[in-house]
C-alpha cells in the first residue's frame, strides 16, 4: 500500500484495492490491486484487468491508502480474545446419542 503522505506526482498513479462480486448472491471479495489516476479510471482498469472472462457483475475500488488494517503483524494478540471461547462453537456441547435435528 502506498504512503498517503507521498505526493502524487512523485509516485505516479496511486494504488487502488479492487473488490469484485463474482455473481449475484455473493459478496464482493478482494481481487487485487492496480494503479489508476482516479476512481473512474480505476473502475475501468479493474474491469479490463479482473473481469475479462465475465468474472464479475459489480466492482468496488478503494484507495489503498484509505484501508485501515488490524495491525502491522497479522499474527498479533489482536485475535486472542476469540481463542479461548470454544463455547461459541456448536461442537463444544455434548448431546446424548440418538438426539437428532440439533
Amino acid at each position: 500500500m502506498t504512503d498517503s503522505a507521498t505526493p502524487l506526482a512523485a509516485t505516479g498513479w496511486p494504488l487502488w484495492e479492487v473488490f469484485v462480486r463474482s455473481r449475484r448472491g455473493l459478496s464482493h471479495s478482494h481481487a487485487g490491486s492496480l494503479h489508476a489516476p482516479d476512481a473512474e479510471m480505476a473502475l475501468r482498469h479493474a474491469r479490463d484487468l479482473f473481469t475479462r472472462r465475465m468474472e464479475g457483475v459489480s466492482i468496488w475500488v478503494v484507495p489503498s491508502a484509505a484501508v485501515t488494517a488490524s495491525s502491522p503483524d497479522e499474527k498479533d494478540p489482536f485475535f486472542d480474545p476469540a481463542a479461548d471461547k470454544v463455547y461459541r462453537h456448536p461442537s463444544f456441547y455434548e448431546i446424548p446419542e440418538g438426539v437428532t435435528n440439533l
Partner: protein
C-alpha cells in the same frame, strides 16, 4: 490496555525467524506484513519482477503478428492472448508491490537492463506458425513452471499464479489448434508448422533454467517453498507431455536422441546447448536490443498519457469525503 489491567496473558516473545521458518515448514503462506528474512524478500522481488517483465516483454513477439493475422478469428484470439499477457504482468507487478517496491522502480530497472526477463522472448517470430509454436511450447513450458508456483510460500505470488494458470491454458490450446490446422493443411503449411517447432523446441526446454547441478538459487528456493520441483524435473515433465502431443500434430521434435526409456519411464532427450542459453542471457540473443528498445520507447511515448490522466484527476479531485 496496560499489561497489568488484565486481558489475555502477554505472549512469550517468539523469535520472528523461528516463526517464519515454522510457517513455511507447515506450508502456510507468508503474507505481505509478516516478518520475513531480508534475503527471502529480495529473492521474491527478483523472481516476481522477472516474471512480470517476462509477461510484458512477451507481448512483443506475438504482437508482431496481430496486424497480419490470416483471419478475423485468429486476430481476435491473438489480441485476447496478448491482452492477457499484459494482465498477467499487472497481477505480478501488483504482487511485487506488496513487498514494498514500486512498479515504476521495477520498470526503470528493466529498462536499464538491471533486471531480467525470460530469455525465450529474445527469439524472433518469423512466420505466423510461430504464434502456434509459442502457444503450444512456450506457454506449455510456462504452465509447467507455474502450476507448482500456485502453492508458493508467498501468498500474493501464489494467488497471482492461480489466476495466470487459469488463463494460460487457453493460450496453450489455441497454439496447439493453430499448429494442428497448419500441420494438416497444404504441404507448405505443414512445412511452416514444422519450421516453427524446429526453432522453438530447444529454447522452450531452456526455459526451465540451467541443469540442477549448476542452478545457483535452487536449494534455497526449495527450502523456502518458493520452488517445489527442480529445473530438470520440470523439464522432463514437459518433454514427456510434448512427445505424444507432437505425434498427434504429426510434427517432429528436432531431437534425434529422443527415445522412450523403459527403465526410467520417461523420454530421454539430447543435450541442450547451454552456451546458446548463456549468450542470450548475456544479451547476445537475436532480439535482446530490439525488445528493450521497443519497451523503452513505448514507455516514453506513453508518458504524456500518464501525465495527462494525473493532471485531469488533480483538477477533478473529489470533494472531501462526506461525514457519515
Amino acid at each position: 490496555m496496560p499489561p497489568d489491567v488484565g486481558g489475555p496473558p502477554a505472549r512469550a516473545q517468539i523469535d520472528p525467524q523461528q516463526q517464519f521458518d515454522r510457517s513455511v515448514a507447515a506450508d502456510q503462506r507468508i503474507e505481505p506484513r509478516d516478518w520475513m528474512p531480508e534475503a527471502y524478500r529480495r529473492t521474491m522481488v527478483r523472481q516476481i519482477a522477472q516474471h512480470a517483465h517476462s509477461e510484458i516483454i512477451g507481448m512483443q513477439p506475438e504482437g508482431n503478428w496481430i496486424g497480419r493475422a490470416p483471419s478475423l478469428r485468429r486476430k481476435a484470439i491473438l489480441m485476447a492472448k496478448v491482452q492477457d499477457e499484459a494482465g498477467h504482468g499487472l497481477y505480478l507487478y501488483g504482487a511485487a508491490e506488496t513487498l514494498g517496491v514500486d512498479r515504476a522502480e521495477l520498470l526503470d530497472l528493466l529498462h536499464a537492463g538491471r533486471q531480467r526477463y525470460s530469455s525465450i522472448f529474445n527469439y524472433p517470430t518469423l512466420t505466423f506458425a510461430d504464434v502456434g509454436a509459442i502457444g503450444w511450447l512456450v506457454d506449455g513450458a510456462a504452465i509447467t513452471n507455474q502450476i507448482p508456483l500456485c502453492r508458493c510460500s508467498y501468498g500474493p505470488y501464489a494467488r497471482a499464479m492461480v489466476r495466470v494458470c487459469k488463463e494460460e491454458s487457453f493460450h496453450q490450446r489455441q497454439g496447439f489448434e493453430l499448429l494442428n490446422t497448419l500441420s494438416h493443411g497444404t504441404s507448405a503449411q505443414h512445412a511452416m508448422a514444422q519450421d516453427a517447432v524446429d526453432r522453438w523446441w530447444w529454447p522452450s526446454l531452456m526455459m526451465f533454467g540451467p541443469p540442477d547441478e549448476s542452478s545457483p538459487h535452487s536449494a534455497q528456493s526449495v527450502a523456502w517453498r518458493i520452488k517445489r520441483h527442480s529445473n530438470d524435473e520440470l523439464r522432463q515433465r514437459f518433454v514427456d507431455m510434448c512427445v505424444p502431443q507432437a505425434a498427434a500434430l504429426e510434427l517432429d521434435l528436432p531431437d534425434p536422441d529422443l527415445r522412450w526409456n523403459v527403465e526410467r519411464g520417461h523420454w530421454d532427450f539430447g543435450p541442450i546447448d547451454w552456451d546458446e542459453f548463456q549468450a542470450v542471457l548475456r544479451g547476445d540473443g537475436p532480439c535482446n536490443r530490439q525488445r528493450i528498445e521497443h519497451r523503452r520507447q513505448a514507455h516514453e511515448q506513453g508518458s504524456w498519457v500518464r501525465e495527462a490522466a494525473l493532471a485531469y484527476a488533480a483538477r477533478h479531485l473529489p470533494t472531501e469525503i462526506p461525514a457519515a
